[in-house]
């Protein structure tokens, strides 16, 4: 018994020991697992806290962009304070199909197809592909079409509003406006130059959303309001612009020219009243354009050798420097030799004795060479600089060219001679208008600009003041040049630019086009006319350019008549009565009764 008890007791003790060991073992296993969980929890909740917080935030909160409204562009006229929209924003519609929501595929295909002009079979094919997402079937649908689609009341068809630029005046001003691309960025023209001003700044709503994506209004939300773009009012007068667009189109078509342009500028403020070019394009359909060169505004970007119109600038240098006066005279031959070059006048016949005024009336290259040689290179270049040639005007249109002026140090005598009649120097029409503006403005040069004012969405107006660049020549010299220009219009090659009863001053220029291989084309010319009027109180400065007319060569027959028609139209529009005394004199001159 005692043995049995001892054995039982030992067995019990062994069992107790084994049990204890098992318990301890299980305890350590639990401890290990628990420790592992704690470590994992620490890793997730403490070390990776920021990451999971962001994931949770992204799941709950959605950011929705609020697109700003792009600023609109307006023009005016002289008879009212109304701003007429040249460029505005319009809502168009894109139509999409959400395959998961379509209940009747045939109904959708047959209903939608005829409305959006898409074969029903094509729509059915897209639906049968069972894709999760189908891109928009058609974009830029007008309201009338969207209403027809809405009337179908078919599940699965969704209309998405999209804002595009709209042009109530059609293609008017397209060349200086530019366009807005599919990304909402302005390209070319004013849209490109003032893109940051017009675009505004995006806003956003960060809010908690439900499972359907709708905002939960009781939950937290943060709103950053968008800053809409500023509206821009241009200096353009829509009536003068309309006239200019019609005139340039007519001239290019009549003379079968390659292209043409007209710039009209307010003589005193430098505000551009019209800038018209032909051919042009429809900015609402810019994607249809194949030749991208049409997007360029040639009046500011296409520098060319201006030819005889530049004689006015060279003569201004001679007059203002005191080298010559309008009455200074000399005998001139049909040609003159400068270094190895022989320079001819355009008629290839000598004019004999001419005053400086007659040199301009006859557009005599030989007389100009004589005058510029007397003036000298240094003085000439001083005036080229004071008239700002070779520098951009700063007009608010993308793509302006500074033109090109040979460095003074590199200019040899033949260069000086040719520059006197507008060869060997490149200018843009806007630079010519700026320079002519100085003559019209008593010698003070004002920078051309096309923006009149900015208006923010709160209605606050920020006007753009005229910017005086400096004095290009004295008031007295400006008057003398003006009278010489009137003489050119009345007695010289500018007769077609005259308007009866009004003192208009101007100058023709028939420029040769340089060949890429050197020399000049023999059968291609650019006809220009620059001038201003009425000369006693200048209202406008105008530059007309007709490129490569096919029927006639001379600017007298291409650009000058356009100038005359435009001048007449502008004077009538402004209701400026004629000077009857001047009109009588003009009639007598036509009859040969006076010189």
């Amino acid at each position: 018994m005692f043995g049995f008890n001892a054995v039982s007791s030992n067995l019990r003790m062994e069992e107790q020991g084994s049990t204890k060991a098992r318990i301890t073992f299980v305890f350590f296993i639990v401890l290990l697992v628990f420790g592992g969980i704690c470590i994992r929890l620490f890793q997730k909740q403490v070390i990776q806290h920021a990451h999971y917080e962001q994931l949770a935030y992204d799941q709950r909160y959605k950011e929705q962009k609020i697109m700003p409204a792009r600023g609109e562009i307006y023009v005016g006229d002289i008879y009212s304070d109304t701003h007429y929209p040249l460029v505005t924003n319009k809502t168009f519609w894109s139509v999409m199909i959400i395959p998961q929501q379509v209940e009747d595929e045939n109904a959708v295909a047959n209903g939608l197809g005829p409305i959006i002009d898409m074969p029903a079979a094509d729509i059915l094919k897209l639906l049968n592909e069972k894709k999760v997402y189908i891109p928009p079937l058609k974009r830029k649908l007008p309201d009338e079409v969207s209403k027809k689609i809405e009337a179908l009341k078919l599940p699965g068809i969704v209309l998405i509003p999209e804002t595009y630029r709209d042009y109530p005046e059609g293609s008017m001003g397209a060349k200086f406006l530019g366009f807005v691309d599919g990304e909402g960025e302005g390209k070319y023209g004013i849209e490109g130059y003032l893109n940051d001003v017009l675009k505004g700044q995006e806003g956003k709503i960060i809010s908690e959303r439900d499972i359907l994506g709708r905002q939960i209004t009781v939950a937290d939300s943060k709103v950053v309001m968008p800053k809409n773009g500023k509206d821009v009012v241009l200096t353009i007068d829509r009536v003068i612009q309309f006239m200019a667009e019609n005139q340039v189109k007519k001239a290019v078509e009549d003379h079968k020219a390659d292209s043409g342009s007209i710039v009209v500028m307010d003589a005193k403020s430098g505000g551009i009243l019209a800038l018209a070019e032909w051919p042009t394009y429809d900015p609402a359909k810019y994607t249809d354009v194949k030749d991208y060169s049409i997007f360029q505004c040639n009046a500011i970007s296409d520098a060319y050798e201006p030819g005889s119109v530049f004689k006015l600038i060279a003569m201004a240098a001679g007059i203002d420097s005191g080298t010559v006066t309008p009455e200074t005279g000399e005998y001139f031959d049909a040609n003159v030799k400068v270094q190895d070059a022989v320079i001819w006048n355009s008629q290839k016949k000598p004019y004999g004795y001419e005053t400086m005024t007659q040199v301009l009336e006859n557009s005599d290259n030989v007389g100009m060479v004589w005058m510029i040689q007397k003036t000298g290179k240094d003085k000439f270049y001083d005036y080229v600089n004071s008239f700002n040639f070779g520098k951009r005007t700063g007009i608010e249109i993308d793509g302006e060219s500074p033109g090109a002026v040979r460095d003074k140090e590199d200019a040899i005598p033949v260069d000086l001679a040719t520059m006197s009649f507008g060869q060997g120097i490149n200018t843009t029409e806007i630079q010519l208008a700026q320079a002519m503006g100085a003559v019209a403005n008593g010698g003070l040069m004002v920078a051309p600009h096309i923006v009149k004012e900015y208006i923010d969405k709160n209605g606050k107006v920020q006007k753009v003041d005229p910017k005086i660049i400096g004095r290009a020549l004295s008031e007295d010299s400006a008057k003398k040049i003006t009278e010489m220009m009137v003489s050119v219009a009345e007695r010289g090659h500018g007769k077609q630019a005259r308007v009866k009863g009004y003192r208009i001053g101007g100058k023709t220029g028939t420029a040769q086009i340089p060949r890429k291989t050197g020399g000049y084309e023999t059968d291609k010319f650019i006809g220009s006319f620059i001038g201003f009027g009425p000369t006693d109180n200048p209202l406008f400065v105008m530059v007309v350019r007709i490129n490569v007319p096919k029927d006639v060569i001379w600017a007298e027959s291409t650009a000058a008549p356009v100038f005359g028609e435009m001048a007449k139209g502008i004077l009538n529009y402004y209701q400026i009565p004629p000077d009857e005394v001047w009109k009588e004199e003009q009639i007598k001159r036509e009859k040969g009764l006076v010189k």
Binding site: D143, P168, T217, V218, F242, Q575
Partner: protein, 118 residues
Amino acid sequence: MKILNRRKQARIGRYHSTYRKSGLRLGPVALSFITILIFSLISLFYLAQSNQITTKGYALQDLEQKKAKVQAENERLQVEAARLESLNKISEKSKDLSFVPMKELKYFSSISGSLAMK
């Protein structure tokens, strides 16, 4: 007051009495029940309010969408009005109405006195 307990003390005639106020008596279970009920009522009230605000929020969004539609229609009409006022449109209309270009503009100086109508 109700006497809960009375026991004799060492001195004759003196008793140690424990008194209880008579009236409503709430035990721990009842108190817990009432607390839970009150919290439930508060929660229900809060839920009801939140629900109402959320519903109003959706209604507000619907109204915002309607407002956007009306604004879009207004914008469309403004653009259409601008198009009808465009010079190209006026020029076309003038041809339809048989207007002709002006040949010559005559100016009259200001006249003092009366002006005959015919």
